[in-house]
Amino acid sequence: MLAQLVAATTATYDTPTLDWHALAPLIVLVSTLVVALIVDSIVAKQQSGALPSIVGLGLLGSLVPIITLAIHDDTARSMFGGAIVIDRFALLMSAFFVVVGYLTVLLSTNYIAEGDYYEGEYYFLLLASVIGMVFMASARDLISIFVALELLSIPAYLLAAWRKRDRVGVEGGLKYYLMGVFASAVMLYGMSLIFGGTGETHLAAIRESMAGGFGAEPVATIGIVLTLVGFGFKVSAVPFHNWAPDTYEGAPTPITAFLSVASKAAGFVAILQLMFVGFVGQANVLRPMMLILAIATMTVANVIAIRQTNVVRMFAYSSVAQAGFLLAPLAVITAADGGVNDKIVSSVVLYLMAYALMNMGAFAVIIAVSRRTGTGEMDAWGGLFSYAPGLASTMAVFLFALGGIPPMVGWFVKFQLFQAVINAETASAYVLAVVMAVNTVISMAYYLGLIRRMFVDDAPDGDTSPIKVPVPLVAAMGLTAVALVVFGFLPHILTDLADSALLAFGTGS
């Protein structure tokens, strides 16, 4: 019986051709993973300071093949029957995830070393999650997307609950896990409906099959909606955002930064691929769905964020609201006009890049400040400018960037989102743009709230001895702040990158 089965499968089995160059970034990352694990088990606990360096170097090392691939040629490298495609979009997003991973390592170094946590396992899981994200960037097939999602999520569940002696930490981690698994189930059900109708898992094939008649069936709509709802959990879109504040508050702060940036970005990468490669023909289903999600996400999160007194929770709602801004251009997707869609994709990619810089930088400051205050309460930030002017000014840069105030790059990418929306020139697009405008103002209110505490209020306990900031945190803040200002003055560097990523989508592919 078994032999028959094996014979039956091997009969049609072709060894897939492996493009080693295209796989090189993943190979570097996996090797680093193995090395990190071995080093951790050999070296004594006290000397494990080498681990973050190894992981950081490995992450940066994987940028080398990404860059060589990018300058080698423009052709997309497709493998495994098109399930994995290494194109410009994949390379750009891979580089993005690797850089965010590196910043997370910088953020984690002292936090984890001094917090009596397991270091080896921590970096192992972090790296595993990054690998899942890099994989996601090139996944163009329902199955590979799902595998990538699980690969990046499962380590993240563990990392979120890393503070196991803290009830808040455990609760947050558990919530994240249960919600995540539930979302996966919903998404799988949606995918199964699509597969049932089209008989395809490959996104490009699904698009053709949908155009062939199945797309008009109600069941196709259900499938699309359920699949995207699954990712709605991942990017914490309202009403699927309930896990975010608790999880963000309970997780170790570097992991909060990682979740709010990398994990969210991975969700958006998947949404972009699903929407613009797979479901673009069903734009009339996607538009109202995204419109509702975007408006609800922005507005609800922004309004709740104003009431927060804890910095991390405020940033949790802020990052939910930012996801709402990112969803907004998706609400004008069209089946007809490739130019409009190109603009949408490029604006979302741009915003993700700038958002990563702003948020990672802000969390670096949060970690630095809470080393001193020992609490996440915003009142503890009072008078920061008087005793740590550098930290306060840097944080102001990040906050104004998040709010979209020039000259930091935040205004430019937000402007791109507006432009992508208004580009559609429909009534609902204008309404959406006005909602975005109002939300920009609301978001400014709570960003300003923190700025006010830093610059205007007095130090709560009169303690104004300077804060000592570890070198890795300084590096993270410096890199992100400088990048924000430089890109603010020379935004075309970013737009060139984002536009090159469009080759993957466009009208035809």
């Binding site: 105030i405 430019f412 208004i422 006005v434 103002v441 400014m444």
Partner: protein
């Protein structure tokens, strides 16, 4: 010289303060004198550059952009670095360049608490870059960026160096303005997409288009976006409530700049951007703007009569004065526009002067409560006479600059532009004229309370110093200019007239 100015004039005027700021940043905090000298040098350098441009400006061709430069900036979004000066922007750039050095001189011994000259001067210099940038920008996005850049230093000037209620005032100021500019960005993008392909964000190109072929409702809505942004900044009734708070809480220098230059960004936006680009929508809006303007005149005046705080009174008088400016603009006539620009300059000089004096009164008496003040003419006669001079100028005494901002604006309302209802505007004129009586009432009342009579019990034996050397240096030029423009208003009208005709050229019956 002319060639150099042609290429570099406006750019130098915009970015020299920023250069000075960068130098300031590397100066140690303890070197206060050096910091003051650097800041003074930077502002004087701008003054010299602008002075040279004033000398080299071709006054016969004041309707066209001179010293014009049009370079690439952000190709991806068609934004260009386009700067230049014409008859409308030249007086305002001159006003800015003129006010700033004297603000720095005045600061020499009057640094507000918390004492931090380096930070304070840094903010002033960033502010100058933003303000000059707004007036020289010929590209909508460039204008927008500078318009926003102005917010940050002003927020910190009020929030950090302000009075008791600075938190609330700085918040209110920032949120109101951001609210306006969020709608402006939607409006900017709307005209960008609705104008023919290739128009870009160039203000002149958009003016040439002039909303041609635009649906009437759409035009009115887009104008509404601009109206919100500029109306908040002016500020027009009912968006004026941030102004008294901001003025009262800001340090003297902040109040002076706010009154002298910042408010003009709003009125300038109307005559440079909103009306030329959308002349037809402007006609629909004109009665509304006129109505709000006269409400502002009366409401501001009544507000003044209810104040006991000298600074708050001057702040409300700004609301009334900007009402005349807006009434002039609402008439859509060259006379009204000329009056508006004159009103901006004279209000800048006169109210700036009044705030300077109020600051010095506060410095000597440590209060601005008019119930406790009195007998300034006895204790500090020179300052008392100057206050009288500035009050007379402010209430529009013929022969001083204030008169030429109000009277022609009222005159213009007698025969408004084509397509506007004469009875309506003549009613506005009558109401506005009644407002001048109120103006005389509140200013004379203030002068009487502060300067006449004997000093109150409280300050009878206090040592009240009359003018300091820095006061003389900072104020003399203001006095001279107020008198000069009062006697020879042609000095400004001659410059603005041609440019105003160009701005209104798209406005037809």
């Amino acid at each position: 010289m002319k060639d150099l100015l042609n290429d570099w004039g406006p750019t130098a005027a915009t970015f020299l303060p920023l250069l000075g700021m960068l130098v300031l940043l590397v100066i140690p905090k303890a070197e206060e004198n050096l910091a003051k000298i650097v800041a003074l040098a930077a502002t004087v350098a701008v003054f010299v550059v602008v002075g040279l441009m004033l000398l080299n400006f071709d006054y016969d061709r004041s309707g066209v952009m001179q010293f014009a430069l049009d370079n690439r900036w952000i190709d991806a979004i068609d934004a260009r670095y386009a700067v230049g000066l014409d008859g409308m922007s030249l007086p305002l750039v001159a006003l800015t360049a003129f006010v700033m050095p004297f603000v720095v001189v005045y600061s020499w011994n009057h640094f507000p608490e918390p004492h931090n000259p380096k930070a304070f001067l840094t903010l002033l210099l960033i502010l100058e870059t933003g303000m000059v940038g707004c007036f020289v920008a010929r590209d909508l996005l460039l204008f927008f960026v500078f318009f926003e850049v102005v917010l940050l230093p002003m927020f910190f000037l009020i929030g950090v160096f302000g009075g008791e209620d600075r938190k609330y005032a700085s918040f209110k100021f920032f949120l109101y303005t951001v609210f306006g500019s969020a709608f402006m960005i939607v409006a900017i993008l709307a005209v960008y997409f609705l104008a023919p392909e290739g128009t870009g964000f160039s203000i002149e190109a958009l003016k040439a288009w002039g909303g041609d072929g635009l649906n009437k409702t759409t035009g009115i809505l887009i104008f509404g976006g601009f109206f919100l942004a500029f109306g908040v900044k002016v500020p027009m009734f009912p968006f004026h409530t941030w102004l008294p708070d901001a003025h009262t809480q800001a340090p003297t220098q902040g109040s002076v700049i706010l009154a002298a230059v910042l408010l003009k960004l709003g009125t300038y936006g109307f005559i440079r951007i909103a009306i030329p680009i959308l002349p037809d929508a402007a006609r629909s809006w004109a009665p509304v703007i006129g109505l709000l303007a006269v409400i502002g005149i009366i409401y501001g005046a009544l507000g003044c009569l209810a104040q006991w705080d000298m600074k708050r009174l001057i702040a409300f008088s700004s609301v009334a004065h900007m009402g005349y400016t807006m009434l002039g603009i609402a008439t859509m006539t060259p006379l009204g526009f000329n009056a508006a620009i004159f009103g901006m300059i004279s209000h800048g000089l006169i109210t700036g002067m009044l705030f300077f004096i109020a600051g010095s009164v506060k410095d000597r008496y440590h209060t601005l409560d008019m119930k406790r003040l009195g007998g300034l003419l006895v204790q500090a006669p020179r300052m008392g006479w100057l206050l009288g001079f500035a009050s007379m100028a402010s209430l529009g005494l013929p022969g001083l600059a204030g008169f030429w901002g109000e009277f022609p604006a009222l005159l213009a309302a007698y025969s408004p532009g084509a397509g506007l209802s004469e009875p309506v505007f003549r009613t506005f004129m009558v109401v506005g004229a009644i407002g001048t009586i109120f103006a005389a009432a509140y200013l004379l009342w203030m002068y009487q309370r502060v300067a006449f009579g004997e000093p109150t019990e409280e300050f009878r034996d206090a040592e009240i110093a009359d003018l300091h050397v820095t006061d003389y240096i900072a104020w003399t030029p203001f006095v001279l200019l107020i008198a000069f423009f009062g006697i020879y208003p042609q000095a400004i009208f001659k410059v603005t007239d041609a440019a105003v005709h160009v701005a209104l050229s798209g406005y037809g019956g």
